[in-house]
Amino acid sequence: MTLSGREAYKEELTALAAGDPRIVCLEADLGGAGHPFARRFPERFLNLGIAEAAAVDIATGLASAGLRPFLSTFAAFGTWRAAESVKLGLGYQGAPVVLVCPYGGASGGWFGPTHHGLEDLAVVQSLPGVRIAVPCGEAETRAVIRSAAAQDRPCYVRLARNEPYEAPFPPAGPGEVGWVHRGDGPACLVSIGEKPAGLCSAATRERPDLSHAHLCWVDAESLAQAAGELAASARRIVVVEEHRGAGGVASTLALLLPGHEVLSVNAGTSWLSEGGDHDETLAALGLTAEAVLTAASLTPTLTQGAT
């Protein structure tokens, strides 16, 4: 059975910790219950409670002493509640803390905007030196956790909620472009995360001439490595991401490719205070396969749901 990204993270970290005594698992009351790490390595597992800013700082202190803390809380809290701690610890100090945040994007659905993480990448992307991964499915999540543990770099890992995802493509490493579909048309769709990958696949079924590339590592350093390959594939690049337009992957990629046409299909600008599951929430935010097709086809000024 395929595991959700959240469960895959827990399993993979627990497996890694068997061979790496530096790994410490920290939780902030949003994933600690029944954690396999706690059962296997109780002395290296600490649920620090609802105190995200202090948790990031304490993780920074642990990292400074040579330990490798993995800290998990929801994206909205890990990036915003603890924003300054992330800036000073992972950014300024470059502390090798891995911040693993489920509830990225609108995966919180009916929990509402307090629990949506539609601005998380903007926070972390603004901090030079922090690596960012948005893995899709179990295998890629496991690969990201292994990579993060081996890098000795600060990392932000954005996950979704509890829904398992069967990724129809192999994991992409830092700087790698994962090609999901190669078309011969003028536009390349670039999906960031699980739901956008699904939207892009739906779009390429409709328009097989469109290409679809998947990126997992989306920090500026990784994007700089991937940008050339993307630019060579098509005249127009349409980034599809579960994020606001401001500070998203498209905005970073556009700065890296000033001579290229980089469009963004994103979660728009509304604060959606209504129920609905993940898909319904995205649809209400304008993040749909139709919006992707529109952006791929029309001039930028006429695109629906695109900025």
Partner: protein, 257 residues
Amino acid sequence: MNPIDLARERALRARRSVVDMAASGVGCHLGGSLSVLDILVAAYTVAQDRPGVEVVLSKGHAAAALYAVLHQVGVIAEDPAPLYGKAGAPYTGHPSPKVPGVRFPTGSLGHGLAYAAGWALSRRLLGAPGGAIAVVGDGELQEGLVWETLQIVQAKRIGGLTVVVDVNGGQNDGPVADISPLTRLPERLAAFGLEVIEIDGHDIEKLMDVLVPRERPTAVLAATVKGKGVPAVEGKAASHYVKISPARARQWKAVAR
């Protein structure tokens, strides 16, 4: 010279150096640097004899005192005073890890205490000796992060942590008591499971005894005087940030005590 006299001598020299930094052209947080200076001398004297003990100046705006003390205890080889605030030198108004002996950048208040708690916790996880001495300001205790951290210290039984509060009674805009008083502070700290010790924050000998990190986390409420040791500013709230001329610095250093 016995260790106590040596520490006092270092404190006097460091005071003069801080006055020089006030005459650097950019000025410095003079009042709070002079109030915390004896605490820092004691803390580094304690740490130098004990492997794994980290001193974290959480009230990073007292950077001038930190640089002066680190120079006096031999961690910073060069004299930082002429370089304070200068381009190309690491002696910024709030300390960074570019400065020898500084592990964590501080100045945004509250974070240094949490870093220190993380360091203290690392001793337990690594099975290594040591602990942490976090030096915080009394105004700094208005930050929620301080109490969030103490909550975790208590909940996770983080030992080997001494929290020294430089109780100088002042903050940027005036007296702490006028802006946001720290009502029943000893009781509040005790409620978080800390052993609370109240002492004279300029008694280096006693400080050297109580600052040693112990198994049970300790809060040392060190009563201090802003501007301590420089008569022109001693006890004056206006000493928070001071910029003076080199000529005045010479006068003040001559009577520093």
